[in-house]
Symmetry: C2
Subunit: 257 residues, 2 copies
């Protein structure tokens, strides 16, 4: 692994639980030498990828990532299109919706929308990592991924996030088969208790899944009628998002050619 990769791996250590980190923490988590980490952070800081605030010695992500994200959006308008699609998906279903993309074997939520239709709703945070086996999004993504990806995901230890989390590979494969048939995957309380999530995959220009679109509702509100409405709206929204971002559905995908 080159020096550049090591430096970038420091950025990968940031997540929702660790929005700020000191030098020692970065050193511990990365397993690298303190001097090495220090020099790398100094270079990352000079480039604006991280910053150290007033007096505080902790590092946090810097403004340059915003500039790059804006440019990425200019090249591939995934977020702006998603926000539009999510807004309508929310309005149609009355529930929280969110979009996530895959990177490095992980699904990360990037944006979400809330409905004001109900007093209670499922709360979301952007940049959260979703479990592949325990969320609707994860299952929707896996259902249309290659066998190697599925095998890799299901052979790893399957975390039991809640008592309801399904961790039996055989039954998970059944869920994937069902999602392949209908185009929509679901998970009931698998990631967070009391949350029933439906999700459909988003495809890239190469017809492979790049992420997922999901609707998350409290278990108590998920009636047969709402399920039907969610599934219909979700399929249309995912197809819309795929097409408007220059993607194509694979031949076997139900509903969209």
């Amino acid at each position: 692994m080159g020096t550049v990769s090591k430096a970038l791996s420091l950025l990968a250590l940031f997540n929702h639980g660790r929005l700020e980190m000191g030098l020692s923490e970065l050193t511990r988590l990365s397993g690298m030498n303190k001097a090495t980490v220090y020099r790398m952070m100094t270079e990352l800081q000079a480039a604006g990828f991280v910053e150290q605030m007033n007096g505080d010695r902790a590092y946090r992500l810097g403004p340059e990532v915003l500039r790059l994200a804006a440019l990425r959006e200019a090249a591939v308008p995934l977020l702006s299109v998603s926000r539009d699609v999510l807004r309508r998906l929310c309005d149609e279903t009355g529930e929280t919706s969110h979009m996530s993309i895959q990177r490095n074997g992980q699904l990360t939520t990037l944006t979400h929308a809330y409905s004001s239709h109900h007093g209670t709703r499922v709360a979301m945070e952007d940049a959260e990592i979703l479990s592949l086996h325990a969320t609707g999004s994860g299952l929707a993504f896996l259902a249309f991924s290659s066998e190697e990806v599925v095998e890799h995901a299901l052979s790893a230890p399957l975390v039991k996030h809640t008592p309801q989390t399904e961790t039996d590979p055989e039954r998970l494969r059944q869920a994937l088969a069902e999602a392949q048939r209908s185009g929509v995957a679901e998970s009931v309380g698998g990631f967070e208790a009391d949350v029933h999530s439906h999700a459909a995959p988003i495809f890239g220009a190469d017809q492979r899944p790049i992420g997922a679109l999901a609707v998350a509702a409290p278990v108590s509100r998920m009636t047969v009628e709402l399920k039907s409405r969610v599934r219909t709206a979700l399929k249309a929204a995912a197809l819309d998002l795929t097409q408007r971002t220059g993607g194509f559905c694979p031949p076997g995908y139900p509903g969209g050619s």
Copy 2:
């Protein structure tokens, strides 16, 4: 300069005019050896900072920058607060509004909002680099920056973007003095012909300016009445944004304590 900085400088080459670049172009622009650039781009790609699409060999920014931007937003909610502030600023003035931040001596627009009040409006792109001497945003930023920053900006060759661009350092300093008094800077057709922009600075936790908030209108619509409304709304909006992002106005700033 270390290897990491060199690799990150490759990312800095991306801008609105160059959303995608091939290996040769990157090599030429960076002035580095082709093999070096190739290895660095390979590492950046492995980390998800750039990607090469199907068959096409050109590189573009990758999905990892979106994840980092979402985390930066979680730590410092500048964009989300800005979008809210810009929306209202638009509604109040009926004109296009935008927000930009400073990085490395350059002002980059990060987000904007349009009004649907008029049939015509000033068009914006995110991630555009704003001239410091020829835009309201640039002048608003400089007006509250240190003397070294102002001197550095005004001693560099001042590009004449349009026939109306003011390039006389002496008169620009007068404009800065006026902005210091009122808290709002303006530029009439200095960056793009027929665009009249007003702007106010945004301050960080250290009381130094971090960027600017601006309203851009067609010159023909900028009446005395509208100017007055824009200036009032802008001052309130900039103060609001500064405070809601944890910033503080400097002692000498008019209007805000």
